[in-house]
Symmetry: C2
Subunit: 101 residues, 2 copies
């Protein structure tokens, strides 16, 4: 069985990004602080990975005001959800191949 | 279902390294040029990832002479096989969680 390694997406070659996408594809949106707390990462670390995912247009950022307080939240884009699914499918093929060998 | 993201191993957060390990865990050993050809990567790229895996003691390098020709081959270590299995198990948990949500 040939594993489609070329289907692995460089944008998801990182634990934080895997976690961000796995949260955003099953939630409509998630704000920065909740993501930071959930993942247990620093502001800077999270911000850099969010920027990279945004640059790929896999997520979008939304800045709103809750009362007077600014709130930044993120959502997965359709192409982000699709790309993440393709990435997981390629990983699943790798796991299946490893288990059958 | 909680995904054990902390079980994901930074050493495998790269497509080339995933490919190297998926080859070495199902083969006793594999030489540099065959790996390079199989993965379709440059000498330098492959060498840097092999060095990183070697540093983690996930693979060992073996330099022999075939007749007069030097041959460098690589093999996964027991801890490398174990670490790779743990990594794939954590990825499998992520995939299962995504499919059930």
């Amino acid at each position: 069985m040939n594993v489609p390694f070329d289907k692995l997406d460089k944008a998801f070659e990182n634990r934080v990004r895997l976690q961000v996408m796995s949260v955003l594809v099953v939630n409509d949106k998630y704000d920065f602080n909740s993501l930071k707390e959930l993942l247990g990462v620093t502001d800077g670390n999270l911000a850099s990975h969010l920027k990279a995912l945004e640059k790929e247009e896999y997520i979008v950022v939304n800045k709103v005001f809750l009362g007077r307080k600014p709130n930044t939240n993120y959502a997965a884009t359709p192409q982000g959800k699709e790309a993440f699914k393709r990435h997981l499918d390629a990983l699943e093929a790798l796991i299946t191949q490893q288990k059958s060998s």
